[in-house]
């Protein structure tokens, strides 16, 4: 592109003026800098091209007229007016001029990209994935009250057809739910993104599933789930833990009504596979009652915050006796719920720098600071500020102390 724009200025000594060879109008130059060739566009180059990114500051400005209101004979006014020669002269400043210019520039419009409020924002910028698109449209008398739909994927897909050739479509993958256990996923395709989203949303409303949520905040037990080669390991978490998982799982959990969970995805991270695997896992969960009936044993809960007081959460109609429990039976709740699978929990290696001699050095040097924060807090509680117990006797040992300035006798 660069050679096209190269301009050759030659000096003609006979004429005594500059000649431009291969002169190109300004518009073409501007386009050359800012646009991208058709072939380049197909390869995905220049995605930001075409947007107006700058304002033409030359508009409304005339050569010779500036901030200082000066008359330039021959440039802004004729040299001779009547029979008099006009002199170069400074007139009083025109305050309106600056304002007019600013107004003209404002009228050219803002070119800032569309900004969303943090509440409506999706996973990234102004992109659709992660954004909410409202409840599915009502079908007859049935309305989807309390439902919300979130976009999980919005991408263009292509299909080769005999007579049409390469046909481009937009594919939208969404999840809808009422935050109380009802949820559905669906894929919608259309030539327009808006239509694809609407299709997907309404289809999701027709394919609702019911998911059991434990105590209205998390899953019933740890579980493993798989779709294709995408494997997910889900761990039950206490209240306040939050959703620590892939963003697609997080968004799905938000509309389902799950608030606390940890999930690790292993294998391919195809988004649709992740969501499908996760939903399969949720549906295959067993409630406490189901487990109690399967095992014919009581399910007893122990919570640390209740000092491990045994609470029976589910009981079978007839409980087995101790003698009926076989010695090889799986009695561990988590192991049983996982179907004898065991999560590989890798030991976290200490960081490399802890092996360096400088780390030892640092530890030795920083050792005296180890209790500083605690001491600071206790001093703040004791005195309301960081000060020693000697402060009453020696005020100079208080933080921020300034020696009073001695008054000089005159």
């Amino acid at each position: 592109m660069f050679y096209k724009l190269m301009l050759f200025w030659l000096h003609n000594p006979q004429v005594g003026e500059l000649t431009l060879i291969g002169a190109v109008p300004a518009e073409a130059l501007w386009k050359g800098v800012t646009s991208v060739s058709n072939a380049g566009r197909k390869r995905g180059r220049g995605k930001g091209v075409g947007k107006k990114i700058a304002k033409n500051l030359n508009r409304g400005q005339i050569i010779g007229v500036g901030k200082d209101n000066i008359i330039w004979p021959g440039l802004t006014v004729p040299v001779i007016r009547g029979r008099e020669l006009v002199q170069q002269q400074k007139l009083p400043e025109d305050p309106e001029r600056e304002k007019k210019l600013i107004k003209l520039r404002d009228d050219m419009g803002h070119f800032r990209p569309l900004k969303l409020s943090p509440i409506e924002r999706g996973w990234s910028g102004t992109k659709m994935p992660g954004r909410s698109i409202g409840p599915p449209d009502p079908v007859g008398e049935e309305t989807f009250e309390g439902f919300d739909t979130k976009v999980l994927e919005l991408k263009s897909v292509f299909n080769m057809e005999g007579n049409m050739g390469r046909r481009r479509q937009i594919s939208a993958f969404v999840v809808t739910g009422n935050k109380n256990g009802s949820a559905g996923i669906a894929l919608g395709k259309a030539a327009e993104a808006k239509v694809a989203l609407r299709k997907a949303k309404n289809r999701a409303g027709q394919k609702l599933l019911y998911i059991e949520i434990f105590n209205n905040h998390t899953v019933y037990h740890d579980f493993f789930c798989q779709f294709g080669k995408t494997k997910i390991f889900v761990t039950k978490k206490p209240e306040g833990y939050g959703l620590v998982c892939h963003r697609a799982i997080k968004t799905s959990c938000e509309v389902i009504g799950i608030k606390d969970l940890y999930a690790k995805v292993e294998g391919p991270t195809n988004l649709q596979h992740i969501v499908k695997a996760f939903l399969i896992g949720l549906l295959q969960q067993k409630t406490h009652q189901m487990l109690a009936e399967e095992k014919k044993l009581h399910v007893v809960e122990f919570r640390k915050e209740n000092d491990y007081f045994p609470t029976v959460v589910a009981s079978p109609p007839i409980c087995r006796k101790q003698a009926q429990v076989k010695p090889y039976e799986v009695m561990d709740y988590t192991q049983y719920a996982l179907g004898d699978r065991v999560f590989l929990r890798k030991k976290k290696e200490p960081p490399f720098f802890t092996k360096l001699p400088s780390w030892e050095n640092y530890l030795k040097k920083a050792q005296y600071t180890r209790n500083r924060n605690k001491v600071k807090v206790s001093l703040l509680a004791e005195y309301g500020q960081v000060q020693s117990f000697y402060a009453e006797k020696y005020p100079e040992c208080v933080q921020g102390y300034r020696r009073p300035q001695e008054t000089v006798a005159e």
Partner: protein, 354 residues
């Protein structure tokens, strides 16, 4: 004597500094505004509550009044630590019963009452007066036996004063040295500000009774006058506001009930028990009152099972300070029992059993 003298120069300096600190603390404590008047303390100090409190009959009555409710004892308590996901176990009925029994034992341990004892006198025993040592130093020396195995209360501690007197350490000195050599987690050397009058009042207004009492148990020895002040203030606040459920099924209800009986102010609690139809507990409370105050006028009344109203009536008539209110409540309760009996008889009759 197994006194470990630490004689290196650095330690001597340390000791010197510590004793300085201690002097400072003693000074501060004396200047600090105590919550209740001293006159009240001396009045209570004349009788020793310990033999009464540890009496097995009294302990039984106090346990009955505490009302062991496992749900309340094991209620959710969050201490700021991050929560953990609950654990689950499959259990047979036998295993479940065993676990529940274990929980009950644990609950009993959790309900162990802090002792109610007399405040310790401040006069330390003088071991020897060596006035030839007068002015040996500008600070007193404390010698602490830090041998392994002796408890904080039994540990030998002696003080050489600047005037040459060798004496046993005072309560304050003992507390300080114990805290220096054997610090207890959660206990601070200086008294936390929350036990000062203005902050304590604010806490009691917020109904944080259990928090105050728990912290007092942690911070003070039971024979510390400050402990007795704080607990008495809290008990009185609970009684005044009639927030008995805030202390019920905690280890503090026993000492609270004992405090009320000791100070002859059981009437509000008795009213609450009658109104909530807990006559067995009302009887226990009056029995406790009789044991603690043998000079009471209704002491001669004997309780016979089934005649709760009569027993309570005897107390209300001769010893209560809120006679009118209590009598009304008692009458209403009697009426209630009568109606209940009539209904039951009616049901039996309807079923054909006369």
């Amino acid at each position: 004597m197994a006194v470990r003298k630490v004689l290196s120069q650095r330690d001597l300096i340390n000791m010197f500094c510590r004793s300085c600190n201690m002097l400072f603390r003693v000074k501060c404590a004396s200047e600090m505004k105590t919550v209740r008047s001293l006159a009240n303390q001396t009045a209570a100090g004349e009788r020793d509550p310990a033999p009464l409190f540890f009496n097995s009959n009294v302990q039984q009555l106090l346990k009955k009044l505490t009302r062991m409710d496992l749900r309340t004892i094991f209620r959710t308590k969050r201490y700021g630590a991050p929560l953990k996901a609950p654990e689950y176990k499959f259990m047979t009925t036998e295993e479940l019963d065993a676990v529940m029994k274990g929980a009950e034992e644990k609950a009993e341990k959790k309900l162990q009452m802090p002792p109610v004892i007399k405040a310790r006198s401040e006069e330390p025993e003088v071991l020897s007066s060596d006035y030839e040592l007068q002015g040996h130093s500008e600070a007193k020396f404390i010698f602490t036996d830090i041998t392994f195995g002796s408890s904080d209360r039994e540990r030998i501690m002696v003080v050489r004063d600047t005037n040459g007197v060798l004496r046993k350490a005072t309560r304050e000195e003992r507390y300080r040295m114990n805290e220096t050599y054997f610090p207890q987690p959660g206990r601070s050397i200086r008294m936390p500000h929350m036990f000062e009058k203005e902050y304590l009042e604010r806490l009691l207004d917020q109904r944080s009774y259990e928090f105050v009492l728990d912290r007092a148990c942690l911070q003070f020895e039971p024979d510390d006058p400050m402990y007795q002040d704080v607990t008495a203030t809290t008990y009185e606040a609970v009684d005044r506001a009639q927030h008995y459920s805030a202390l019920r099924s905690t280890r503090h209800f026993g000492p609270f009930a004992f405090h009320l009986a000791w100070n002859r102010s059981i009437d509000s609690l008795l009213l609450d028990l009658i109104q909530t139809d807990r006559l067995d507990e009302a009887v226990a409370l009056i029995q406790l009152y009789h044991i603690v105050n043998p000079e009471a006028r209704s002491v001669s009344a004997n309780f016979e099972p089934g005649l709760e109203h009569k027993f309570i009536q005897a107390y209300v008539e001769s010893d209560s300070k809120k006679r009118n209110v209590l009598e009304l409540a008692l009458q209403a309760n009697e009426e209630l029992h009568k109606q209940r009996a009539e209904t039951e008889a009616g049901i039996l009759r309807a079923h054909g059993n006369t």
